[in-house]
Amino acid sequence: MKQNETLKAMLANYQPNLGDSDKYISNLQRRLDAIETVKQMYETERRKIRNRLIVAFVSGGIAGVAMAFYIMLHPIAPITMDQLPAQWMVADVNIIVKVLAITVFSVLIAIVSSLFYQIFKKDYSAVTSPSW
């Protein structure tokens, strides 16, 4: 029983010298400053990438619309046109189908543009997500 009390007292009186607390906190603050700097760099880079992605998507969309219109206006060479069934000819296609075709085509071009951008952009993940 007495030994138990001695042991408990030993643990309760455990007060090791931990050094200067102010210095410890200022070291911690320096480390947090470094983290904040990296976080800000990451945020800036993320914003840049997002803006470029939007530009790539919009440009892709515009290019898609332009290309779709071009294809619709100059669908097939006149020689082959005569050989096609009548329902394949653009002049007979419903206007809604045309619009849908242009939209799908434009969106596809936009997505492809964005994907290309994603593939070729710089990879910052190693810098911004360290394994703490």
């Binding site: 138990n4 090791p16 931990l18 607390s21 947090l32």
Partner: protein
């Protein structure tokens, strides 16, 4: 939580935290300080998720204990015997005042060690220790009494 608030809370809790980690690491100051810094950085990065009504101290100790467990899983100095670590590293207490205690604590299983230190040094309740060590109060009570018995035996030798 703002950075200022985080620093304010950490300033109040850093001593108990470092004391706990120092004992948990068997008196190896270099390793315990590394773990403490890592834990504080993790806590800072996660401070946005901290719920104010939760006890900050318990939350911080929980992160620190997890960081300690992660550290022990890595193959490095904590796997070495205590004497080699003390010779190789900086002594936490130049007077060797706690040498016997560190040696004894070092021989306890990790969970018993944490329970003994949190209960007897930091004064945590069984419930809080269970939260920190991701356990339940009954298991904590058992680990604590087992740990104390083992400590007594080791110190008697």
């Amino acid at each position: 939580m703002t950075r200022e608030r985080f620093i304010e809370l950490v300033t109040a809790e850093q001593e108990p935290l470092r004391r706990f980690l120092l004992a948990l690491c068997g008196g190896d100051r270099a390793i315990s300080e590394d773990i403490a810094q890592d834990a504080l950085v993790k806590a800072y990065l996660a401070s946005g998720e901290f719920v104010e009504h939760y006890k900050f101290r318990t939350w911080l100790f929980k992160i620190a204990y997890r960081t300690f467990l992660d550290y022990t899983k890595r193959p490095h100095r904590l796997a070495e015997p205590l004497d080699e670590r003390i010779e190789g590293g900086e002594r936490a207490d130049a007077t060797f005042r706690y040498e016997a205690l560190y040696h004894a604590i070092d021989q306890l299983p990790e969970q018993s060690r944490a329970a003994v230190l949190l209960y007897h040094i930091e004064g945590y309740s069984f419930g809080d220790i269970a939260t920190i060590t991701h356990s339940n109060p009954i298991a904590v009570r058992q680990r604590l009494s087992r740990g104390l018995r083992q400590l007594k035996k080791i110190l008697e030798r």
